[in-house]
């Protein structure tokens, strides 16, 4: 096997020496700029009316109230201050904290402007965020499994679609939610299996396979939808909805209770898997081997790890998880399958995976952030905000571009990600 060039354009264009405008200062400028924007623009636009953040799913009950204009300006100033601190120079360990504070203050300033004179139900927002994040978390975890062992998975969208389709079809025919979830996993595995065989055995470019598999899944589900489900929705496309489980006692805790303990099984599955995969990757033999195979397959092979076998296993496991994520669309969100119903969610999951730096908890955080942006977009268009929902929906994509461009921290993929292993 000839040596594969892994040089990026960055290495080829001369690396700049340490300079004054390092990462932290550039970040500081950015945060200060958005702080200034918030203070001046949001502060000026916000009406001087009360913004109520109710601790329930509607307007009733206790609420955190603040004057919209005061809030917008105050939080804007906080963001500005965070930017100034970063710009002035700061010990490295506080950097992330201050950065988060700045961004959070910016978001709050924005909210004060938008909610002024209205109310924002916090519980509804948080649980909506979590629900929207569930498929993203599961999809991104599927990506984590594949990519940490060196197989790029761009086919998350296809796995979602097959999962959603399988869940609707089998769920209806067996009139069982759990049969639906199971067959969703099978649907995901089908796509994963093709991906695995073509990428690992036939050494096809993994991004190519992923893109083509997305189209294949789109075609297959669309074809079967028109042939089976459309003529006879009753017997093929009316799966039972996933039940919400109410845990007595725990569900009565304010805010957290209704969000975490009065919800469906997929939410729990997603959260548990985040912890399980994090533990698996960092603390178990399987995890060590997975990371070794993803970073340096030749070395892993030398010490007796079956590179291809492990990759097959991880990609198929990923298929199970992403397929289950697809079940969300038919069993939780809508209650029936529709053509191309995932409409790019798989790519947001991919973005969450990259934005979360290929780690389970990073993926969780990114998925929650993206889920929040989506939830906020629906809220804003519901209350008739002047901010177009399309721009909020762009946020995940733009944030990912900023992240990969290294403007905010550097993201680095596993070294052997996407490279087939050829035993020599």
């Amino acid at each position: 096997m000839t040596a594969v060039s892994t040089a990026t354009a960055e290495e080829l264009t001369a690396a700049a020496p340490a300079r004054f405008w390092d990462r932290q200062r550039r970040l500081g400028v950015g945060v200060a700029a958005i702080g200034l924007l918030a203070t001046v623009l949001f502060g000026a636009l916000a009406p001087s009316e009360t913004a109520r953040f109710t601790l329930s799913e509607d307007a009733a009950g206790a609420a955190l109230s603040i004057n919209g204009q005061v809030g917008a300006i105050a939080f804007g100033v906080i963001a500005l201050g965070a930017g100034a601190v970063l710009l002035a120079g700061l010990a490295r360990r506080y950097q992330t904290g201050v950065l988060s504070l700045g961004i959070l203050a910016f978001v709050l300033s924005f909210l004060c402007w938008q909610v002024a004179g209205k109310f924002l139900p916090l519980v509804d927002t948080v649980s909506g965020t979590l629900e929207l994040a569930v498929p993203l978390i599961l999809g991104a975890l599927a990506g984590v499994l594949g990519e940490r062992s060196g197989v790029v998975n761009v086919a998350i969208e296809g796995q979602f679609l097959m999962g959603a389709f399988g869940a609707a079809l089998v769920g209806t025919m067996a009139t069982s939610v759990w049969a639906g979830v199971l067959s969703a996993a099978v649907g995901g595995v089908l796509i994963a299996a093709i991906l695995a065989v073509l990428a690992i055995r036939y050494l096809v470019d993994q991004v190519v396979v992923g893109i083509v598999l997305n189209l294949l899944a789109l075609g297959v589900t669309g074809f079967l939808y028109e042939r089976l489900m459309q003529p006879d929705a009753q017997s093929y496309n009316q799966p039972p909805k996933m039940p919400e489980w109410h845990i007595p006692g725990l569900a009565d805790i304010p805010v957290i209770g209704p969000v975490l303990f009065d919800t469906n099984a997929l939410v729990w599955l997603a959260l548990i898997l985040v912890f399980a995969i994090h533990f698996g990757l960092t603390r178990t033999r399987w995890g060590l081997r997975t990371r070794a195979v993803g970073e340096h397959p030749t070395a892993a092979d030398t010490v007796g790890i079956r590179v291809r076998g492990l990759r097959y296993l991880n990609v198929l496991l990923g298929g199970v998880i992403a397929g289950a994520g697809g079940a969300y669309f038919t069993l939780v969100a809508t209650g029936s399958f529709n053509k191309n119903m995932t409409s790019g969610a798989g790519f947001i999951a991919l973005a969450a995976l990259i934005f979360g730096r290929w780690t389970p908890f990073g993926a969780l955080g990114a998925a929650l952030f993206f889920g929040f942006a989506q939830k906020l977009a629906t809220y804003l268009s519901a209350v008739g905000s002047p901010v177009p929902s399309q721009f909020l929906n762009m946020l995940p994509y733009l944030a990912t571009i900023v992240a990969v461009a290294g403007l905010v921290g550097r993201v680095r993929a596993p070294a052997a990600d996407g490279q087939p292993y050829i035993k020599s």
């Binding site: 594969v4 060039s5 892994t6 040089a7 990026t8 354009a9 960055e10 080829l12 264009t13 790029v152 761009v154 093709i194 073509l198 036939y202 050494l203 096809v204 470019d205 993994q206 991004v207 190519v208 396979v209 893109i211 083509v212 598999l213 997305n214 189209l215 294949l216 789109l218 075609g219 297959v220 669309g222 074809f223 939808y225 028109e226 042939r227 053509k339 790019g344 790519f347 991919l350 973005a351 990259i354 177009p388 399309q390 721009f391 929906n393 762009m394 994509y397 733009l398 990912t400 571009i401 990969v404 461009a405 290294g406 403007l407 993929a413 052997a416 990600d417 996407g418 490279q419 087939p420």
Partner: protein, 445 residues
């Protein structure tokens, strides 16, 4: 052409083999292969030709990929037809029923696919009898070329970037931005006829180029992987289009749904009139193919981009600016995809809708792969895809087979093309003498 006779013979054997596989509803290794399996002693041209025919060369693999895809598509048709499936219920009692029913449904579907894509014999007889017009005869071809034109541009965009070592998944986004700028120029600029069309096309090119510039400059400056950036930009462009259409001044007056004003007549690509929708776009596409072929093989920039694509460090050592090449390459690729979008909106759609660009960007990716990243190959592949799409329309309305089957066929063809080793194994092909296959550029993120 002394080899004409023998060419026909194995081809026919080939097709019957595929047909029998279709009948049995299972693709499998084709057993009886003509006697040209053992290498001949005489090194005649004929012998060598026969030897190569069943080897894993580009042409054989492409043809077999299409055949395989059609076979799998046939299985889909049979499995999803309840009437045919019911005949399989008593397969052991009367197998002929099941095979006849399967054969009928599949052959009808594929006959419609052919009639809708190339020519319907009925229209020729009608024309000869004087009951039909020549336009009806050329209607299928016109449809094929109409669908092919934008795909040529997006395919060339992907192919060109590929040759420079970049994977442009952003064809979709670049095409969407191209439709936006071209359409805006089409209904905002008050220009005289010809100039207006040129201005609108140029606007589409510039829009796409701008959308290609972003991943290019980010790749060159920061090393951000172009696959990630372009995927994200695709969806950004779509959302932007969705927002823009609903704005005052852009939206069609008197409409509340998402549709823009119509492009001025003198900015539209002239079509052949009547029911023939094929327009100047396809001629532009051929022209673009020639330009890209020249650019790639004859120009200094083409040489640089191929050098960078083959080995970036070596190219840099040779004095080529890798960063500049990447940026310029993505700008060019983006411009091509933008032209594809412009062809779509100026040629057939005439107004912006959320789905105006359809799937031309992603299809362009498949077209480039099928065309082996060569300009003229891409043109042929785009025409094949256009034919599938045009035939698919007829198949949907005449045989009731969903158009989605075409998406399945296209995806399957490209899967087999991308994995020639798979095709080789299925058909027991001999290794090709000049193996140019499997040149995947797996390099990950």
């Amino acid at each position: 052409m002394t080899t004409d006779g023998p060419v026909g013979a194995p081809k026919i054997a080939d097709e019957t083999a595929a047909d029998s596989a279709t009948d049995a509803a299972a693709p499998g290794p084709v057993g009886a292969k003509p006697a040209h399996d053992e290498p001949g002693d005489g090194d005649t041209l004929l012998n060598r030709f026969l030897q190569n025919l069943w080897a894993a060369n580009t042409v054989t693999v492409t043809v077999l990929s299409v055949v395989l895809a059609l076979v799998i598509g046939a299985i889909f048709i049979i499995v999803s037809d309840p009437d045919v499936l019911s005949t399989f219920g008593y397969l052991t009692a009367r197998p002929s029923d099941a095979f006849d029913a399967s054969w009928t449904v599949v052959s009808d579907a594929y006959a419609d696919l052919f009639k809708g894509a190339i020519v319907d014999p009925a229209t020729i007889t009608a024309w000869a009898n004087g009951t039909g017009t020549w336009r009806q005869v050329f209607f299928p071809i016109s449809e094929t070329l109409t669908y092919a034109a934008p795909l040529v541009f997006t395919g060339l965009s992907v192919a060109l970037a590929f040759r420079g070592g970049l994977f442009n998944i952003g064809g979709q986004g670049q095409a969407v931005v191209g439709t936006i700028t071209a359409a805006m120029a089409g209904f905002f600029l008050p220009l005289p006829p010809v100039i207006h069309l040129i201005a609108a096309l140029a606007a589409g090119l510039l829009g796409g180029a701008l959308w290609g510039f972003v991943p290019g400059i980010l790749k060159a400056r920061t090393g951000a992987h172009e696959v990630i950036v372009t995927i994200m930009l695709n969806y950004t462009a779509n959302l932007f289009l969705g927002w823009l259409i609903l704005q005052k001044g852009v939206q069609q007056p008197g409409r509340s749904d998402a549709i823009s004003k119509t492009v001025d007549g003198d900015a539209q690509l002239t079509s052949f009139g009547g029911e023939l929708r094929a327009n100047l776009g396809i001629l532009l596409a051929v022209l673009a193919t020639a330009v890209v072929a020249w650019l790639l093989n004859r120009s200094a920039f083409g040489f640089e981009l191929r050098a960078v694509g083959a080995n970036p460090p070596a190219a840099r050592t040779a004095g080529i600016s890798v960063a500049r090449t990447y940026t310029l390459l993505m700008v060019t690729a983006g411009g091509l995809a933008g032209l594809g979008g412009a062809t779509q909106v100026l040629g057939t759609a005439h107004a912006l809708t959320p789905q105006v660009a359809g799937n031309i960007g992603f299809d362009g990716l498949l077209v480039a792969l099928l065309g082996r990243n060569r300009p003229w190959g891409t043109l042929l592949a785009a025409i094949l895809f256009g034919a599938l799409r045009a035939g698919g329309n007829r198949m949907q309305s005449f045989s009731g087979i969903s158009l989605e089957l075409v998406t399945v066929l296209q995806a399957l063809i490209v899967i087999f093309i991308a994995a020639p080793a798979l095709v080789k194994a299925i058909f027991h092909l001999r290794a090709a003498r000049s193996a140019r296959l499997g040149a995947s550029m797996a390099k990950g993120w």
